[in-house]
Symmetry: C2
Subunit: 199 residues, 2 copies
Amino acid sequence: MTATVIKYHRVMSRWEPNARGRLEAAALELYVERGFEQTTVAQIAERAGLTERTFFRYYADKREVLFPGSSALEDLLAAKIAAAPADAAPIEAVGSALEAAGAALQHRHESARARFHVIAENPELRERELIKLAALASALAGALRERGVPELAANLAAEAGIAAFKIGVRRWAGQADEQDLTLLIRNSLDELRSVTAGK
Amino acid sequence: MTATVIKYHRVMSRWEPNARGRLEAAALELYVERGFEQTTVAQIAERAGLTERTFFRYYADKREVLFPGSSALEDLLAAKIAAAPADAAPIEAVGSALEAAGAALQHRHESARARFHVIAENPELRERELIKLAALASALAGALRERGVPELAANLAAEAGIAAFKIGVRRWAGQADEQDLTLLIRNSLDELRSVTAGK
């Protein structure tokens, strides 16, 4: 426990190289310490050594700061779908894209774990997380349609894939020891295939 | 179009037999006419011939009134899962439960169509809809676990089933002609199976 606290502290202290990263780290730190509801944007800015104005240059509200890189993740998923072999089935393309997303998130385990607990305790944050996941599904579905996959199949492959991804990420973020996220996502996708096959 | 408007009017006029139904109908009518953002609880109560106080006896906020019967739907899904044959695979039990939910919603096509457009235009409402769907998935997963289905399989069958359900309901609600919702849900589940099998 003490080791974890020290590690958080190191990851989140002020000498982050950029304003965005400093605000994210400060927000997460305060949400863990005081709770999301009790934390103000002014406090986040102060902790980061920045102004409220700077905060609002990067984030629309107190919730957004908990979902950094979500549009980059959408772009990554779409690019991976576009780059999948021409003969890959939609679910295979989706699986590779989601595993690549897992690899990209792996180094963030420590902050993912803190986020997991903050989000779990706040209904507003759970709503925001769901809309971010829906945006990821939408990016996948759009990229599949561009490959000529019919709309219904594209939407289902995307939504089912994101369901497996969400479950993999939650298992990863919910555990103290850092497991291989790509592997957890792959396991989750395998289980999805097995379950929908009626096993 | 005129026929539709007349039908809305008939469905939503004041002689609904109960306060809850009158508030729902009044809210939907106003959201369609003026937009969700522009409508106040006072206006909804007035249109329903009731007081604001009565509104808040039934609904926590302006958003909740758009999701009537969602806890009844959770109960229905859990009951159907519990009643599925002992040897039914998790995805089969989920499929029957979701088709039963479709049958229960069929008579609400007219209001579902209005809701569909109101929700599509408002990000806050899309978030609320996602949390309601997550609650349905959670009810399904819980009922599956009570049948002894392991947690990962239960969560995936529930989440994938709800993804198919959501897509079926959206196709149904998005169309002017009233199609058979149960059939659309079944098609969506069939396509899910086909897609996850790598077709």
